[in-house]
Every structure is written in C-alpha cells, then in structure tokens.
Symmetry: C2
Subunit: 244 residues, 2 copies
C-alpha cells in the first residue's frame, strides 16, 4: 500500500489516497486520535470512487466525527479499473427487464453480482490486512453500505468484521441469501420500502436469512436515494454500539 496524496478537510479529517496492488482507495482518519481508532469499511456502488466521492466523503466525515477511521476501495470493473466483460451483457439485460416492467431473471442477477462478489471480497480482505497494519488504526472493524451482496459475503467469511450496516438497495442472488445464514455478527439493514428498482421481497428474504442474534431492519420511505437523515443516525448509533 502506498499513499499517493494527502489533504486535511475543513473539519480536520485527514484524507489520504492510496494504491494497493493496483487498486485505488481512500483512507480517512479523525482530526486527532490519541489512541488507535476502530475502522469502518465504506462499501460503494459500481459508479466508481470518483462519482461516489461526494457521498463517500460525507459518510467519512461522519465516521471521523464519531471517532472512526474509514476507507473505500475501487470495485472491480469500476473507475479506472478494467471493465468486467460479462457484466456489460448482464447490465444491459437488467436495463431491458426494468424498462419492460419485468422481474430480472435469476440467471441475470447471478451473472451480474456473483463474479463481482467473488473478486471484490478478497480485495477488501487484502485492504483490511494493509489498513490494520497502519499505526493509529485498530479493530474492531465494521462494514457499511455499498453493494449488499459484497457485505453479506464479507460478513460471512471475514472473522475480523464485528458489525455490518447494510443497504438493501441492489439485486441479491439466491446464493447470497443462503450465505447470509452463516452470518452471526450484528447486522443493521436499511431498506427503502418504495425503492421501485429494488426487489423488496428478496431484501426481506435476505434479512430473514441472517443467522445473527442481533439483526435490525429499518425500512423507510423516500425512494432509492432518499434515505431519511434519522435512518442515517440510527446506522451511526449501530456502529457506536458495536465498534466501541
């Protein structure tokens, strides 16, 4: 991991861009931290770090204010990274089905999501190795938002993850719902009830499948991008309870 740039945001948060095995990422750490701080991994969407930056930095500032470091890495096939060949075809089929008002077929969901999960999760784990080796960053580790299937797999396979705050706003393969049964860490799931592009029943099935003793589903209105401020607050309180 090597850092390529560094700046102080106006709230004192330190923002450092890095590259790890060719994958770009950003690390944010609180203005002043007398002791090593817990870490929240910020999941994001295939729109890419550049496009997602305004929203990511908002989440990172909030995390820093709450006493957490946070980090994001570019997803496979996003931003400057080489496109995934198979994904283009699956994405075109999703678009076609949605425009036609048809449900997206299971094979298409699998083709779009499963290879992404297979590639992204080991990359998150390698990033975790590097991030936890830095001075000033320590466990416990949380995962927050982004493509929910990546969060589910990571929560199922990565023992260093202590809590997952997930956003049920993307298509979920049946195989991922099965994997959720192996998740035992506390899980907080945000669902936008009136998110028209989302499969609500799959989100409910996924929530039901989590094997966690503590799991919460917070469903609200406002469409895909309209998560109300109080729901963001509840997610922040979730990480406060479990990472401190």
């Amino acid at each position: 991991m090597h850092f390529t740039s560094e700046q102080r945001l106006d709230d004192g948060t330190l923002e450092r861009a890095f590259v790890l095995d060719g994958i770009p990422g950003i690390l944010w750490t609180p203005a002043s931290a007398p002791v090593p701080v817990p870490l929240i991994l910020l999941g994001q969407t295939p729109l890419g770090l550049g496009t997602m930056y305004p929203r990511l930095v908002g989440r990172a500032r909030r995390a820093a204010a709450d006493g957490f470091a946070s980090a994001a890495i570019e997803l496979p096939g996003s931003g400057e990274r080489p496109r995934r060949a198979a994904a283009g075809q699956a994405r075109a089929e999703v678009r076609r089905a949605m425009q036609a008002g048809e449900p997206v077929g299971e094979e298409t969901v699998d083709a779009l999501i499963l290879p992404l999960v297979d590639k992204a999760v080991p990359e998150w784990q390698a990033a975790l190795d590097a991030l936890l080796a830095l001075p000033g960053i320590d466990g416990p580790v949380g995962y927050s938002g982004g493509v929910i299937s990546i969060g589910v797999r990571l929560a199922a396979v990565e023992p260093r993850l202590a809590a997952a705050g997930l956003f049920a706003g993307s298509l979920v393969p049946r195989a991922i719902i099965e994997e959720a049964r192996r998740v035992t860490i506390p899980v907080h799931v945000l669902l936008q009830w009136d998110d028209e592009g989302n499969d609500r029943q799959a989100a409910l099935d996924l929530f039901d499948a989590f094997g966690s003793k503590e799991k919460s589903l917070y469903a609200n209105m406002g469409g895909h991008t309209g998560v109300p401020e109080f729901a963001g607050e509840a997610a922040a309180q979730f990480f406060d309870r479990h990472l401190k």
Copy 2:
C-alpha cells in the same frame, strides 16, 4: 373526568388516576412544565391497567423526561370493566389454534379484534376531549403502542392525532389493513421479527398499506417482549421529531 388520586414519582413526574364516564385512567405530567406540553396516548393490552402498570409507568417516565404528558385508559373488557361476552370464545379459539400450530382463522381474528376497536376508539376520543381541556396539556397528540388495530383506526379517524408509534405484535383483521390506507400521519412501526405468536406477513401487509408519506418499520430480534433498548430510543426520537 374526575381525579381519584395523585402522587409524585421519585423523578418528579405527577401521576393522577382518573375516572371518565366510568372508565379508569391514569395521567402523567412532567415535573415542571412552564408551558403546555404535547400529549402521548399510551395504548396497552387487554391484560389491564393494573397488570400493565409497571411497563406503562416506565413509558410515562420516559415521556415526561422528554417533555410530554401521557395518559392511559382501561380497555373495554379489561381490568375492573365488564368482560366482553364474545371475546372469551374468540380468545379460546386463538389459544386452540396456536397450541395446534395452526394459523388463526380470519373470522376469529375479526371476532376478537373488531368489536374491541369499535368500542375503544370512541373512548380514546372522549378521553382526548377531556385531556386536552386540562390546563397544562396541549397538542400535538401522539398515540403509542398497545393493540395495533386500535392505533390504526384512531390514526385513520382522529384528526387531532399528529403521529403514531405502533407495535406490530397482535393479530390484525384484513379490514384494519384496508383502513390503514386512509392513514396519512407519520407512522413508526416496531416489529419483533422473531415474535412467534405474531403473523409477520400481516404486519408487513399492514405497514405496506399505510398511506403516510413518512412511515418507518423497525424490525428487531428478541421475541414478543424483547424489544431492544435502542428500538425504544428510536421510537422516542420519532415522537420528538413530530410532536415538538
């Protein structure tokens, strides 16, 4: 409405028992309130005010600490009030179905709940008339918890209600789900996902039916009586947002 007793709780909350048209009730007001305070109606279960008192007073203390008056009245057929003849038969059938692991029939749910709603809602409205006429109590008014079907009907028909915090932990007639479409005030619904005696799908159908622009569903684990503390906190924040 006449008051029959009065005591100060150790936190300064004033607790007054009252009787209104033969119906017993309790009113709690904050220790000191320089201006009239908003009111939260505390719904409860057919177990009766006496049995429910420890839980009610906990909710009332919290409401008082947050700057709200709160009140509870005895449900029809509960406590010292005459039993409802038809309810006994329906309740026996519910018990039988649950012990046999069968779903409770729609007719039984209707027979148990609808007459209770028909009788309880006008009683709440009469209590509201009397409570809002007292010095020191003013709107807006919230309704919280108890038999959810009563809360739904009250939210649908009572224009003085500004927000409803409901607990999806009791059987819901299909007719009440239809009535929920007419509810437009903000609604916050708590659901215990692993509440084995409850019909989860009916709770989800009910939530979906609410016509409110702002509605939230907060589902958690812990069984019927195990609502986690942070969920109680979120409900308190909901009333704070809408009654102040």
